[in-house]
Subunit: 139 residues, 3 copies
């Protein structure tokens, strides 16, 4: 069995953003020389997500508005978490909707994906350095 | 290490449906001859889900109504994604709530499940051919 | 390849609760003697969750109120699932938001986590014995 590990680093200049990281994940598979296995890609922070959906700007705008409706950022006083001095209570909830991680199959040395699947990093409390873990096991 | 891969194919005649796929997944485990390992089962499309819950018709009706409340299909104009000519903006959001994938344990050659766990395919934009991936690694 | 399996057992005296199970999961990794691999931790029941977020009481209160807003417990008659005699229709939906499972990386014999990641059991229909599965594969 082989294993591979890499951290991807992000420093998003805005509070929220979606970043397509599919190419970085494909690079990891190539570097790993693993042909058959499973790949885990997870946010290492609890106010960001890794998820799979469509690379389409209108959809990302829909996600942004929908998440803001389900878990509004303001007023900050609506979240007990923010009583600690934080202002990111909403980010913990938004990340919960979008998910922490994806697990994907590697087949014949490639990402085993459907036609429109792309992997995204979802940032909900940016403007600082954050990390995503890629871990692969297989052979 | 052994690996196994299979695609399950669906062509749901309605826009939305939930289909119990537990028996198909169990067949995959038997075909794989893998006794100990992990099984990934994921939708290969971004408007459908694979999830684990109860095989109970009332609950599925509750899911349908609840998802329609959280991400209504109409009016189609409420989603920027639909400006591209699509009418499935809601399906991307509904699939996000229900999830893309499940990872389950295989122990002694069997699905290592609690008493009520069943695996479902969730379709949110049907009436065309779509696929689910089953990938197993173990030995 | 090595594999490891353990069930964690909970009997929560209230309907709902969040329990930090990170130490129990770390114990499993130590017992497994697996240094590199993937760990699956999933609820074996369909009205409870395993998820990763912050060990902060205010946030847990926010989760409780937010989930109650998205899928209220009462009136019980609002869920068709409860026509079967159950009163836990809301618990199936709350668990869907919070997720069934987490997959985490093991690196150098340790949980490969970011600074604030902690694993929680989320109970949404307690007052009875329920189980969580920990399955590890690696070497």
């Amino acid at each position: 069995m082989k294993t591979y590990r890499k951290e991807l680093v992000f420093e998003i200049p805005t509070r929220r953003a979606f970043v397509n990281i599919t190419a970085e994940v494909v690079d990891c598979i190539e570097q790993s020389r693993i042909n058959e296995g499973l790949l885990l890609c997870n946010a290492m922070h609890i106010t960001s997500s890794v998820f799979i959906n469509d690379h389409e700007a209108g959809l990302h705008q829909d996600f942004e508005e929908w998440l803001e409706g389900l878990a509004p950022h303001a007023p900050i006083s609506r979240y007990r978490h923010n009583d600690t001095g934080e202002d990111n209570g909403d980010a913990h909830l938004k990340r919960t909707i979008m998910g922490r991680e994806v697990v994907v199959a590697i087949t014949d040395g490639r990402l085993d994906f459907g036609p429109w699947e792309q992997i995204f990093y979802g940032e909900f409390d940016g403007r600082r350095r954050k990390r995503v873990l890629v871990k692969i096991i297989g052979e």
